[in-house]
């Protein structure tokens, strides 16, 4: 079992650009959640996907959007990047219970 995987590992973008991050859940998991972890902070919940729909969202602007595919993998899209979007983006998968986290994607916005 590969666990939760995320790609890419690192990413550098410039302000105003758009970015897509990807997540493959742990085998058997049908729910994917995304978190933003700024430097020196705890993770903050962005949104959660289940059955290909966003079913819960944290306090993030509409620039942050996502998608879940039939195989339960997920994408996080961020439009019009700001310097403040620089962070570690974590994906977590679950099946009716404990969330398992991936290693994250480190996004740097210049």
């Amino acid at each position: 079992d590969a666990g939760v995987t995320q790609s890419p590992t690192h990413l550098i973008k410039t302000r105003g650009q758009q970015v897509t991050l990807r997540c493959s859940p742990k085998s058997g998991h049908d729910t994917v959640s995304w978190y933003q972890q700024a430097l020196g902070q705890g993770p903050q919940f962005i949104f959660q996907y289940y059955e290909e729909e966003e079913r819960q969202r944290g306090n993030f602007p509409d620039r942050f959007s996502g998608h879940q595919f039939p195989n339960y993998s997920s994408e996080l899209n961020v439009n019009a990047l700001l310097l403040g979007d620089s962070a570690l983006y974590l994906c977590a998968s679950s099946y009716s219970g404990e969330q398992f986290f991936g290693p994250g994607t480190r996004l740097t916005v210049l």
Partner: protein
């Protein structure tokens, strides 16, 4: 709204010494409580969780935590720290949702272990 306070940004202990990391939460109902550990370049790993029942919870790697409702606390303890325990530790309170939960994390406590 739920929130978590981890009052210690850094904690330094000697290898073999005991450890206690503090966590206070704010939540209107009976909380789901968690402790996670994050090593450099790694995702979060769940150490232990409390949903209900016995207020002393045993976790992995020799960690335990005690839920004290009267103090709104969920402190993490380990009797003897190993150098490999050096990492970032996050306390979280979870809001039940859709058969799972949505955690709110504290800002973390960085554990430094001296040889």
């Amino acid at each position: 709204a739920q929130s978590v306070t981890q009052p210690d940004i850094h904690i330094t202990v000697s290898e073999g010494a005991s450890l206690e990391l503090r966590c206070n939460y704010s939540y209107g109902a009976t909380p789901y409580l968690f402790w996670y550990v994050q090593s450099p370049g790694q995702g979060l790993q769940l150490l232990l969780k409390y949903f209900s029942g016995d207020t002393l919870v045993q976790g992995i790697k020799g960690f335990e935590a005690e839920f004290k409702r009267s103090q709104s606390s969920f402190n993490l303890r380990k009797p003897s720290v190993h150098w490999s325990d050096a990492a970032e530790y996050f306390c979280a309170v979870g809001r039940p949702f859709g058969g799972s939960y949505i955690p709110t994390f504290g800002r973390g406590t960085s554990l430094i272990v001296h040889p």
